[in-house]
């Protein structure tokens, strides 16, 4: 069940989207997410849906694969919908318990929009991570944030930590699964009991996991040093970031999308 999270997992296939410069994808995703929060009417959401559909089609990542990653945030999605549904003030639509709990018209609208917004947000960022190798992604981030080095922000180190964290997510997930099975075999119970009991049951899972993570970190640091890693100075790039025509074209498409969004937003 844990293995279902596709966020941060690269999907190996060759496509136009895969080949784009990570800076374009990062910028595009960011703009797309921002646009989602400004969109208020149905037309805008249709536009966003269309935009997403086209990008998914171009990326050649199976839609099923993307949806699988959504399962992990289903809980968050439902929670958001419930909160918006019941806690938004306005004209009541349905009331329960003599008016103490009610669903308002505004709440319903907000809940639906919020759900769509969140779903789009996750799909949008999933596409970015599915089509960009994390190394590439952090490269892009490193490059975009480079100006911050003036303020002594350790941009390269941050990017490196990020890419290592991403690399170890699947390994640690697998390990969690293994420890879980080992502890279950010895009588640990992760499934029953109330929330507090279940949280307590996690302790025999987390302690070995964290210890092993530290051990791995130690090993990895040694392996990196053995391969001459000494921070970002004098480091060359195997895959330097260079904008090509496709990348400018992609920027143009994002701009077009934003323009259309502004136009539709006025309707």
């Amino acid at each position: 069940m844990i293995r279902d999270i596709t966020l941060g997992q690269y999907y190996q296939i060759d496509s136009v989207i895969h080949r784009l410069d990570p800076r374009v994808k990062l910028g595009g995703t960011l703009l797309f997410i921002i646009s989602l929060f400004f969109f208020q009417n149905v037309w805008c959401y249709l536009l966003a849906a269309l935009f997403l559909a086209v990008v998914i089609k171009l990326s050649r990542v199976p839609f099923k694969y993307i949806v699988k990653g959504m399962k992990a945030i289903l809980f968050l999605l439902i929670l958001t919908v419930i909160f918006n549904l019941f806690l938004t003030p306005g004209t009541p639509l349905v009331t329960f318990f003599g008016g103490k709990v009610r669903i308002t018209e505004e709440g319903l609208k907000l809940a639906v929009f919020m759900a769509i917004r969140l779903a789009f947000l996750i799909i949008g960022s999933s596409i970015m991570t599915l089509t960009t190798t994390p190394n590439n992604l952090t490269d892009g981030m490193e490059r975009l944030l480079r100006p911050l080095r003036v303020f002594r922000v350790p941009v390269h180190e941050g990017a490196m930590m990020m890419s290592i964290a991403l690399r170890f997510i699947p390994i640690l997930l697998e390990e969690t699964d293994k420890i879980m099975k080992a502890q279950t075999a010895r009588g640990a119970d992760f499934e029953s009991g109330n929330l507090i009991q279940r949280a307590k049951a996690m302790v025999p899972l987390l302690v070995p996991l964290i210890i092993s993570a530290f051990r791995r970190a130690n090993d990895l640091a040694m392996a990196m040093e053995a391969r001459c890693y000494r921070g970002g100075e004098n480091r060359t790039k195997m895959k330097p970031l260079i904008y090509r025509t496709e990348d400018y074209l992609a920027y143009f498409c994002v701009a077009l999308y934003l323009g259309a969004g502004v136009f539709l937003g006025r309707l």
Partner: protein
């Protein structure tokens, strides 16, 4: 002078209590003298805690000797200015394949070393290609390391070291976490590097089968070099190996027992074919 030379090498692990006071120390390596010639295939053998990994870490300047000296390609590892040269000259492959692969894609991982060394982009690609081909992993260059088997991951790690163009490659129990097939894959790749590229190989292991092809074997015990010689010489001393808690390969053991029962056989038989031939079968 050899590519790696040590003189009375000593390394002490210092144990400290919670306040940081010295509680005691363990001498993991104790007066080791080695002289390894370029192009050699050296195996270092020993059971757990014999100090073989500690010794290996000295060859890459990850650890510095407490006493004595170690020279890698003529450079003293205690010289800070030579540190990166030493690490480039003597590449190191570790035990756990998952904990030494940094890249999310095979080729990116192989390129990590050259990137750190400041090799120009075009040359990095050439090096990655030739390194992956040398270990037979070129067709997997676009794969995620998580989708590879243990043996394949270790071969990627070896390619990652090769891309730095080392003169010597140290493998610290590279097969300890692999299944028998993966072990064979890795050892085959290592042998090819030694034979084809004339790369100096230092293989640290506790699997006896893997040292058969080595030119010279050092057996370590309690931080000291207990035995040294060719594999054949080492394997003809079955009783000594047993005293050091090491197993000899099954064939060698069989030949040894047969000889003890009065069948005339030469000492130190290493492979099944040899035994068959000696028995006239």
């Amino acid at each position: 002078m050899g590519i790696i030379r040590t003189q009375d090498l000593v390394y002490e692990y210092v144990r400290r209590d919670e306040e940081g006071n010295v509680e005691g120390s363990i001498r993991a390596v104790e007066g080791v003298n080695l002289d390894i010639e370029p192009g050699d295939f050296i195996a270092i053998l020993g059971h757990n805690g014999s100090g073989k990994s500690t010794l290996a870490k000295h060859m890459n300047a990850i650890l510095c000797p407490t006493e004595g000296c170690i020279w890698v390609d003529g450079k003293d590892t205690r010289e800070p200015s030579e540190l990166w040269n030493i690490r480039q000259t003597a590449g190191m492959v570790f035990q756990n394949p998952d904990n030494q692969i940094i890249g999310q894609v095979v080729e990116e991982d192989v390129g990590f070393g050259p990137e750190n060394m400041g090799v120009p982009t075009r040359e990095i690609w050439e090096r990655v290609e030739e390194s992956l081909k040398a270990v037979g992993m070129y067709q997997y260059r676009k794969y995620s390391p998580n989708k590879l088997s243990g043996g394949q991951k270790q071969r990627v790690s070896i390619a990652g070291v090769l891309a730095m163009h080392p003169k010597c490659i140290i493998l610290d129990e590279p097969t300890a976490m692999l299944d028998p097939n993966g072990r064979k894959e890795v050892i085959r790749a290592v042998r090819a590097l030694n034979e084809v590229e004339r790369l100096t190989v230092i293989l640290i292991t506790h699997y006896m089968e893997e040292i058969i092809h080595a030119g010279k074997v050092f057996v370590m015990d309690h931080g000291r070099i207990a035995m040294q010689g060719t594999p054949r010489e080492i394997f003809s001393r079955v009783e000594e190996l047993k005293a050091l808690r090491l197993d000899v390969p099954q064939v060698t053991m069989l030949a040894y027992e047969l000889k003890k029962r009065g069948i005339p056989l030469p000492d130190g038989i290493l492979t099944t074919e040899e035994l068959l031939k000696a028995l006239g079968l």
